[in-house]
Subunit: 263 residues, 2 copies
């Protein structure tokens, strides 16, 4: 697999983007639903975003499989926070999530994962690869096509950040997509072996969030991944608590990381 | 050694504090030099600190042996930053630092440390104990006597935070001194075995700063110490770079930690 920076294969800028609904939130943020090559997404733009002062953009990564509808309350919270810093945000329905066709081999990989977890056994590298890599391989080019289309809008100008999980998706994007200049990564998902190698090639600033007691996460893998990043600016913020217990101040610190690098 | 919260043995509040010099800094911060039982120190108070609105106080810990004079530029920077949040700060010449008498066994412990480092051997627990514990045993009661005296000033009201190194001093203070309600600890010094045990008894919020590539620091020991803290709010922030390379934004994040818990 080629992870060298390159143009998106077969991209047709702007062509496949269709807005389907819009509403203005109470704080003036414009929320627009769209489809891109049939994939649903949501774009939030701050009131300050205009063609004469286009906004930077943060890609909101989501946990694999949960779906944008279920994640909406948390996504819109992050979108409002970014908008208060003058930054636009976008969520894209992930491969295999929320009504989209399942990823090849996903059911079997999840069954193997459940078997290992039920038996209290470590999750093998092979299961992790089959669970995560098909998602990475499909999600990354989708994000890049979304960038082609969205950055053609006059009110969006870049630079672009990636925020959230799946961490392997964020790492791959940081390597292959030169428009992504900062990554705020949530260490809360399994890390394929290939991702550690890709992390060495990441040179953009990274801010890694780790929940110290995340029951479904391998703490040592997160520390090893942080160590592997080749970036000259990298920060790990670990907080007490489980997967969903990220404290409010951690979200604010991540917001300041993006404001520092995107504004 | 008794590390149960208790009143300071033999303390005579306010009695031994003598101000020796004062100057107003350009941002309105009042800098006063003092001696306390003959130990030199510096107190910085924000313009907002008055008897009707007394300021919280942060104890500025320093690296062992460097001395307040040599550390002054960095100390005053931290003091000005805290003052901008309405928080007073104090530095106290550490045991064995500046012109103070050397700690018992310090020369021999440092010689053993140098021997180990020169030979590229690991520093033994025994050397760490002899290097750090005498400092902790002497510095902690001195800080507590300083609190007795300083909190008697009408412009200081508490609560109190501890900020910096030596990390074993901060941990001991967090356990024994109930007036200390938040600790921002710099993981940049050797950690005695006893400190890991004491960390389990720490219940106040802690914000631990770790330089990921600190040449003189054991990264795993810092992670183990963070894991050991019994606090329900604890954050580890690790940044790329060596011992003295703490990025400016890390200082700002630590400042927000204190503002959150002391204001």
């Amino acid at each position: 697999m080629n992870v060298t920076p390159s143009s998106t294969p077969g991209s047709t800028p702007g062509a496949a983007l269709a807005f389907t609904a819009e509403q203005q939130l109470d704080d003036g943020v414009l929320e627009r639903r769209f489809t891109l090559d049939g994939i649903p997404g949501i774009l939030w733009t701050p009131p300050s975003a205009t063609s004469s002062d286009p906004a930077p953009l943060i890609l909101l990564g989501q946990p694999g499989g949960l779906g944008t509808d279920r994640m909406y309350p948390r996504l819109v919270g992050r979108a409002r926070h970014a908008a208060s810093d003058g930054i636009a945000t976008v969520a894209l329905e992930g491969p295999g999530s929320g009504g989209r066709p399942p990823l090849p081999g996903a059911d079997q990989a999840r069954a193997h994962l459940r078997t290992a977890l039920t038996a209290g056994e470590p999750v093998s590298d092979d299961v992790v690869d089959r669970l995560v890599l098909p998602l990475v391989d499909q999600a990354v080019p989708e994000w890049r096509r979304a960038l082609d289309a969205l950055l053609a809008l006059p009110e969006l100008g870049g630079p672009v950040g990636y925020s959230g999980g799946v961490i392997a998706v964020g790492v791959r994007l940081a390597v292959v997509e030169p428009r992504v200049v900062a990554a705020g990564l949530f260490a809360g998902s399994y890390v394929p072996r290939a991702t550690f190698e890709e992390a060495r090639r990441v040179t953009i600033p990274v801010h890694v969030l780790l929940q110290w007691d995340d029951e479904g996460n391998d703490r040592q893998a997160a520390l090893d991944l942080f160590d592997a990043f080749g970036s000259t600016e990298k920060t790990l913020q670990a907080n007490l608590g489980g997967h969903t217990g990220v404290p409010a101040y951690a979200g604010e610190d991540a917001g300041r990381f993006f404001a520092r690098h995107l504004r």
